[in-house]
């Protein structure tokens, strides 16, 4: 499962999507928006067709490099509030070492190559950008 979506991530569905009878180990990573006095939410912008493509390539490389059995990556975009999951990666492998290694590697790669950008939104954010982000959210 590779998905870029504005709606909240269904973590159980992401995990279930990598379950395979031959896999004994599933490693999962969730990135969540941390509380900060200056941050109410993060606004994620994406170049979606390229992001989907780089995520698919990344899963292919993980399978070749770590021998993982299945990998799913879901990235949320738009406005994600504090406490919300912005990214979920699930990785199934025969043994746990590969599952952990592939999951950590995939998260590094997501931050390195997937065309997604974030901006903080909070009480000190210029009003113009808050208004624009709000409008984007309302029309979603």
């Amino acid at each position: 499962m590779i998905r870029i979506q504005r709606s909240p991530i269904d973590v159980a569905a992401v995990i279930d999507s990598v379950r395979r009878d031959e896999a004994g180990a599933i490693a999962v990573f969730l990135g969540t928006v941390r509380a900060d006095p200056d941050v109410d939410a993060l606004d994620y912008e994406v170049y979606k067709p390229m992001a989907i493509r780089t995520l698919a390539d990344l899963v292919d490389v993980a399978q070749a490099k770590f021998g993982v059995v299945a990998m799913s990556i879901v990235h949320r975009v738009g406005r994600v509030p504090v406490g919300g999951d912005s990214v979920a990666i699930a990785c199934a492998a025969i043994h746990r070492a590969e599952a952990f290694a592939a999951c950590a590697w995939a998260m590094d790669e997501v931050k390195r190559v997937v065309p997604i950008w974030k901006q903080e939104t909070g009480p000190r954010t210029p009003r113009a950008r808050r208004r624009r982000s709000g409008a984007r959210r309302r029309t979603r």
């Binding site: 990135g31 990235h75 912005s86 990214v87 997604i116 950008w117 974030k118």
Partner: protein, 83 residues
């Protein structure tokens, strides 16, 4: 020939639009296109060294020769994830 130039995040804010239609000579490279766009929008100049480039939704190097109808993207350093 004509290509579309997509702009994201800080570049979009600097230029003020999400996309530019750009006309260039046949055989021109991606690097030459970027030079022309930066000349037209000098506020992009400070970003030139950290800019990533894509053609048709894949990362590309400046020496790639463009073709009519290509979708070019100027990408600020990515910052997906959460921290």
């Amino acid at each position: 020939m004509r290509v579309q130039v997509k702009l994201f995040a800080s570049y979009r804010e600097v230029v003020g639009v999400r996309q530019l239609a750009w006309t260039l000579r046949d055989g021109e490279t991606l690097g030459a296109l970027v030079d022309a766009v930066v000349d037209a929008y000098p506020r992009l100049r400070g970003h030139r060294d950290t800019m990533f480039l894509a053609v048709n939704r894949a990362y590309a190097q400046p020496d790639v020769v463009l073709r009519d109808g290509d979708e070019v993207a100027l990408l600020p350093p990515v910052s997906g994830g959460f921290e």
